[in-house]
């Protein structure tokens, strides 16, 4: 409960200072706002407690187990599933994908029916999840083989810029955002555990240099994949 309040507190403080000090108007719908904030705090609390009781201990111990002695194909399969599945469950991505669908249907890119919106939002999330899965496979290969991180990132960004030239302009904003949105509450702890576990178990790897960096890939590939999704679906 305390942790969720701390998450929300800076947002509230900044908003209140601006509302009272700069805008000087009473907030409309105060009841809805307060009710919504309570739901957010309550929801986050349940969510995090549940994660810590169920998914994190098991997921982390599995990530370590696979990193230590799994065969490479199983390790890669696990990395892909982990990336895909954690991304589907990421609440921030669910919220942003819904918003993107609303905006797209408002702008006439997709039909303005509930079904079209739901389909678009789900398609977006599946695309991002696929991208994160692929990112983890590449990232794990990188740690195993010892490829230098910055060269892969440079190649990655060059590809992003190239695809940008062909992508419909309506998708570029959401594509660029999706990288930052995906790496959040569920994905980061589990993916970090995989990376650090791997770097510990392979000789000559430094957990700091190699352990981090998986998240960096996971925020890179969604940009490419979402732009391609936009090219295909629009």
């Amino acid at each position: 409960m305390v942790a969720s309040c701390i998450d929300l507190a800076p947002v509230l403080i900044v908003v209140l200072i601006f509302q009272l000090g700069v805008i000087c108007e009473p907030l409309p719908n105060v009841v809805d706002m307060i009710g919504g904030m309570l739901l957010i705090v309550l929801g986050l609390t349940f969510f995090v407690i549940g994660l810590e009781q169920a998914l994190f201990p098991l997921g982390e111990s599995m990530a370590y187990a696979f990193a230590r002695k799994g065969s490479l194909p199983w390790l890669l399969a696990f990395a892909f599933c982990l990336g895909f599945a954690t991304t589907i469950a990421e609440p921030a991505l669910i919220a942003v994908a819904d918003k993107a669908a609303q905006v797209a249907s408002g702008g006439g890119v997709i039909a303005s029916t509930d079904q079209a919106r739901q389909q678009y939002a789900l398609g977006l999330r599946l695309t991002v999840a696929l991208a994160v899965g692929v990112a983890l496979v590449v990232g794990v290969m990188r740690i195993v083989r010892g490829w230098p991180l910055h060269w892969l990132m440079i190649v990655g960004y060059a590809i992003v810029m190239m695809i940008t030239g062909f992508a419909p302009p309506e998708i570029i904003g959401i594509a660029y955002d999706s990288g930052g949105v995906t790496t959040s509450t569920i994905t980061v702890p589990l993916v970090t555990a995989l990376g650090v576990g791997l770097a510990h178990s392979i000789k000559g790897r430094n957990p700091v240099v190699d352990g981090f960096g998986l998240i960096a890939f996971a925020s890179l590939t969604p940009m490419m994949f979402v732009m391609i999704y936009g090219m295909v679906s629009m």
Partner: protein, 246 residues
């Protein structure tokens, strides 16, 4: 009724991760599940929490971001005709404060910063790193808001940003690179993302001549790019200082 749909939706969203863990644990590692009761209770908590959180977002945070964008670009702040970029100063200030405050209080960043301090033997200071990331996010979101107001090309901003990062990478100490690249993705938390997204969409809706579809998104991209720059910069300065002292 709506909440029931929310719960069903959350159940569907949680299934893949629950399935992944079950299948790999039972089939591949071939170990029994420890503490099944606790596991089930945790999953139920996750599903309830997710449904409540998403409902709360719709009720409070999304409208709030929209509202702030509309108010700060309203007639009290912007003269009806001949608005120039600087008339939107309060928007930039709000964006920057929001980015700074939420990042400084971000729990996952605190953990990462402490780890980095420990590993670098004190050359990187935990507080210094947190400040560097927060300043990066603040500047990033403010610049992103400026882009929405001015209607610049998103990819040009991001491309130049990455060129700067690339340039810095070659001069930064190698141990910080992974951490710096990660810090961009880590800092944008579950609470910040929806509010910042709503702010961007609201801005694009309120500023004349902007299109929500074309200009509304992109703030998060800025918020994930600029911390990389400030962290790399901070590491360069910190190692320089420690070398001078040593």
């Amino acid at each position: 009724m709506k909440l029931l749909w929310g719960l069903l939706g959350s159940l569907r969203d949680i299934l893949p991760i629950a399935g992944t863990i079950l299948v790999f644990q039972l089939w591949v590692i071939r170990r029994p599940l420890p503490n099944v009761y606790r596991l089930l209770r945790g999953l139920v908590f996750v599903i309830i929490g997710m449904a409540l959180f998403l409902e709360g977002l719709e009720m409070a945070l999304f409208p709030l971001g929209d509202l702030m964008a509309a108010q700060l670009t309203g007639p009290d702040f912007i003269p009806p005709q001949g608005a120039v970029m600087m008339d939107y100063l309060w928007v930039y200030l709000f964006a920057a404060s929001l980015g700074f405050a939420t990042t400084l209080a971000e729990p996952s960043l605190i953990a990462v910063a402490l780890k980095a301090q420990e590993i670098s033997g004190g050359a990187i200071h935990a507080w210094g790193l947190r400040l560097a990331v927060s300043v990066g996010v603040a500047f990033g979101i403010a610049l992103g808001a400026y882009r929405i107001v001015s209607g610049g090309e998103l990819f040009l901003f991001i491309l130049s940003g990455y060129l700067v990062v690339l340039f810095q990478t070659f001069f930064a100490p190698s141990m910080i690179i992974g951490l710096a690249y990660d810090s961009g993705g880590v800092t944008t938390s579950t609470v910040t993302v929806p509010l910042v997204t709503a702010l961007g969409l609201g801005l694009a809706r309120s500023v004349p001549g902007r299109d929500v579809l074309l200009d509304g998104f992109g703030l998060i991209a800025f918020a994930s790019l600029f911390p990389i720059m400030t962290v790399l910069g901070y590491a360069q300065v910190a190692t320089l200082f420690s070398r001078m002292r040593g």
